[in-house]
């Protein structure tokens, strides 16, 4: 019996164009709860996918030793066979099947090829008792809440005789009671001898439950800390997560800040899938002309939800609150209203929500502002072509012509098409959700320059980003969002990565 149940060494994983993981080392001791912390996109989930065989052996470099043996997993089945079970953030349950059926899915309790229902439900009930889930095993998954679904996932893992349980953001979608229950359960499992690896953004949970923490930044292991021996605090973790130097990746910009353009008050939004969960909680923001404002928050903080609910109620239910445009109250009921009031929203997922990938550049650029190009419904194609050509040149979109299909462009050029589309609608307020996600460094600089130009033209820009250096380098003022609430508003001069991270991880009092 070795002291370490798991040792990953020298893991390097490359995606086309990006090194997601670079020489990562992770050692997990037997019977501990080991937390992995890092910013969005630091490589935590990729590392867990390497471990669980989602990326099969040969797809990455480096070695994995589990229980002292070298492992070469070809898929999830192999890693599960070895006793490693991963529970993803998006739960993988079949909603119409019962709890018991889900627990034994792919692992059915059968006799001569036929399901033994008595044994299925009996054993399911036993497992449910172990995880503290008081429900009937025959209840369909869709009838129980997310917190209980999480428990079903754990019961399912237990049914596979798990030795190493990996949980990716297990409490992200849970309310406080369910979170507390889950953490208790994890402590109980540790006492039974099950080792847990937990990925979490909630640092208070990490300090409360973990025995050790490994910090990952930009695809590299920074350090592994023993919680007790090193007396680790939230501050200590934060400085490990963000310690990155700002360099001149940002074009210089002197803002000329004018009148208030958009003010939002008491904005509350509920989740459409769980109508009793507040996703945005009485948020208030002010954007002024010529100003670039940042919105910082970790995954699940409600950034995109806030932006989309403002942009014509495209997300959420039971939305309440007030919106003022140029000081006057306005009612925005749908996207067309939002565009008419001078709002524009560039989605974080530009492929799904921002572009028609099978259509060409010019028609993507003209799509939102078609009204200005048409007379009595007839589109002026010459004018459309002329305007598209203008953007092609001024935005420096690298494509053979405006007739090129958007799906074949690189990420940076796709983003330029999205920005052109919105600039064409002549907005006063632009909300840019992760404007540089998946874009290489050179193109990022171009996007920043465009954002600065937009502000210089007197537009208000709200930039949502997971990358703190980006916000610090670009924005004049930064709001922080945590669990749906605005937890801070910091001018650029006073903001540091540490101070922002503090505000972003601030939990419910």
């Amino acid at each position: 019996m070795t002291e370490h149940i798991l040792r990953m060494s020298g893991i390097t994983k490359t995606f086309p164009g990006v090194k997601a993981l670079q020489d990562v080392n992770l050692s997990v001791r037997r019977g501990e709860i080991h937390a992995i912390c890092g910013e969005n996109g630091a490589g935590k989930s990729t590392l867990m996918k390497v471990l669980s065989g989602v990326y099969p052996h040969g797809d990455y470099e480096g070695e994995i030793f589990f229980e002292g043996e070298r492992c070469e997993f070809g898929g999830i089945r192999d890693s599960e066979h070895a006793g490693i079970v991963i529970i993803h953030q998006e739960l993988a349950l079949s909603p119409q099947l019962s709890i018991a059926e889900n627990i034994f899915l792919g692992n059915e309790r059968a006799k001569r090829g036929f399901i033994d229902w008595n044994r299925t439900n009996y054993e399911a009930a036993e497992l449910m008792k172990r995880v503290g889930l008081r429900e009937n095993p025959t209840t369909p998954i869709s009838d129980i809440g997310v917190g209980k679904q999480q428990l079903v996932e754990i019961a399912k893992a237990l049914s596979k005789e798990v030795r190493l349980l990996i949980l990716d953001e297990p409490t992200a979608a849970l309310n406080d009671d369910d979170s507390a229950h889950l953490l208790d359960l994890l402590r109980g499992l540790r006492d039974e001898g099950i080792t847990c690896v937990i990925i979490s953004h909630k640092l208070n949970e990490v300090t409360a439950i973990a025995d050790a923490v490994t910090i990952i930044r930009d695809g590299r292991t920074i350090e592994t800390l023993d919680m007790a021996a090193d007396a680790v605090t939230e501050d200590r973790i934060i400085s490990g997560m963000v310690g990155r130097a700002l360099d001149n990746r940002f074009p210089p910009h002197e803002p000329t800040i004018g009148e208030e353009a958009l003010r939002v008050e008491d904005w509350t939004v509920y989740s459409p899938s769980q109508p009793d969960r507040k996703v945005v909680d009485s948020a208030a923001l002010t954007l002024r002309r010529g100003e670039i404002v940042g919105l910082a928050g970790l995954m699940g903080a409600g950034r995109t939800e806030l932006a989309m609910s403002l942009f014509g109620r495209t997300y959420g239910v039971r939305i309440s609150g007030k919106v003022f445009k140029d000081g006057k109250p306005v009612e925005i009921r749908n996207v067309q209203d939002a565009i008419n009031h001078g709002l524009a929203y560039a989605s974080e997922d530009r492929k799904r929500y921002g572009l028609n990938l099978i259509e060409d550049i010019k028609r993507n650029i003209s799509a939102a502002g078609l009204r200005g190009l048409a007379r009595r419904g007839w589109v002026n194609e010459n004018e459309e072509y002329r305007i598209a050509e203008e953007f092609h040149r001024s935005m420096n979109i690298k494509a053979p012509s405006v007739n090129s299909v958007v799906g074949q462009l690189s990420g940076g050029n796709q983003q330029k098409v999205v920005l052109s589309k919105w600039i064409m609608t002549e907005p006063d307020v632009l909300i840019l959700d992760e404007p540089t996600r998946g874009i290489d460094v050179g193109a990022k600089y171009e996007i920043y320059t465009i954002i600065n130009q937009l502000a210089d033209q007197g537009k208000a820009v709200l930039v949502i980003s997971s990358e703190l250096p980006e916000l610090l380098g670009l924005c004049d003022r930064i709001y922080t969002l945590s669990e749906g609430r605005i937890t801070g508003e910091v001018p650029r001069q006073e903001a540091t990565q540490e101070s922002l991270m503090h505000l972003m991880t601030k939990g419910q009092e």
Binding site: F311, G312, T314, N334, V335, Q336, A338, I339, Y345, S347, R352, Y353, G354, L355, N356, L357, I358, E359, D360, R363, S366, A367, A368, L370, R371, A374, G377, W378, V379, E381, K398, A399, P400, N403, S404, V405, G407, Q408, L409, S410, K421
Partner: protein, 327 residues
């Protein structure tokens, strides 16, 4: 950043399926001309138009629906219902054609409007909604009558049987003119209006279209209305061709129309395709029938076998095409 090119010419990938269908059509015509005497004449092509004018009109409506990513299974039944209503109103109460035809068009459009509204308002798959519409319209035919009703209105039959002479002894029927006008108008609407743009954008990515502020709901309702209108018009053209109304007319025509649209290179998932492709698709189907009738010894169900094989080929082609462009 590679542009899929056809040969040396820098042709955008979206024209490739239409080009393939066009080449196929030309190849079939040349092969027919070599193999059969009297095949390689203009009139053979014109006959394909004459015999398939109604299918062409129906396929135009289907193209709108498929471009938004939907499907309309009701078209065959609406065609039959249109022939039935026309025939019964002219035979029974003796209504004049200039009253009957507009009424039929209104009924067809109305059925489409209702189906489109249900698809949009209740967010139900178009497959189910139009399947229900298909049964409903077919059933309504039999409430009018179970037998074939002949059309004997003199004005109607005179129009139906008139020939429009072209040069060199060639001729077409008025139906062909109607069908070509429909194609022309539809192509213009699809390519030069905001509505046309919304059709492509909805099919390309409904989520994106919504966030661009395009009227996705109104567009969906409109395409089913257009399809209903085209089906009714197709029904009128079919009653010119058959000079009767019958509940068993146009059984399975919805599948012919879908096949024509797909062979014409329109993506079944929506967002990509051209009306020209649909015209070529209808011609390919018509030419297969012509070749089989020239062959003489082959039974007519060989048509189905060829259509089946062609569909496989084109669906595979689309798969390759969309896999490349998604990268």
């Amino acid at each position: 950043m590679t542009t899929l090119t056809a040969g040396r010419v820098g042709l955008p990938a979206k024209y490739l399926p239409v080009l393939v269908t066009g080449c196929l059509l030309a190849a079939m015509f040349v092969a027919g001309g070599i193999r059969y005497e009297g095949f390689a004449s203009g009139q053979v092509i014109l006959n394909v138009f004459i015999d398939n004018a109604f299918l062409l009109v129906v396929a135009v409506g289907m193209t709108f629906v498929i471009l938004t990513g939907g499907i309309d299974l009701s078209v065959g039944s609406v065609v039959a219902l249109s022939t039935m209503i026309s025939a019964s109103l002219m035979a029974g109460p003796g209504w004049p054609p200039y009253l009957v035809v507009p009424l039929v068009l209104v009924i067809g459009s109305g059925l489409g409007l209702v189906m489109g509204y249900i698809v949009h308002a209740f967010d139900i798959q178009p497959f189910i909604v139009t399947l229900a519409g298909m049964f409903l319209a077919r059933g309504l035919c039999y409430t009018i009558g179970t037998d074939s009703i002949p059309i004997e209105d003199p004005a109607f039959t005179a129009f139906a049987q008139s020939r429009i002479d072209l040069f060199a002894d060639m001729w077409i029927s008025p139906s062909v003119i109607v069908a070509l006008v429909v194609v022309g108008v539809a192509a213009y609407v699809l390519h030069y209006t905001r509505f046309g743009r919304a059709v492509y954008a909805t099919g390309g990515s409904e989520q994106s279209a919504l966030l661009m502020g395009l009227p996705v709901g109104r567009t969906k309702i409109t395409v089913y209305t257009v399809s209903g209108f085209c089906s009714a018009l197709g029904g009128v053209l079919l009653s010119f061709y058959m000079l009767s109304g019958y509940g068993l007319h146009a059984v399975g025509m919805e599948l012919d129309a879908i096949a024509a649209v797909v062979i014409g290179g329109t993506l079944l998932t929506g967002g990509s395709g051209f009306l020209l492709g649909t015209v070529l698709g209808v011609l390919v189907l018509g030419l297969i029938q012509t070749i089989i009738s020239f062959e003489g010894t082959l039974s007519s169900w060989w048509t189905k076998i060829f259509i089946g094989m062609l569909l496989f080929v084109f669906i595979l082609l689309q798969r390759l095409f969309s896999a490349r462009s998604r990268r």
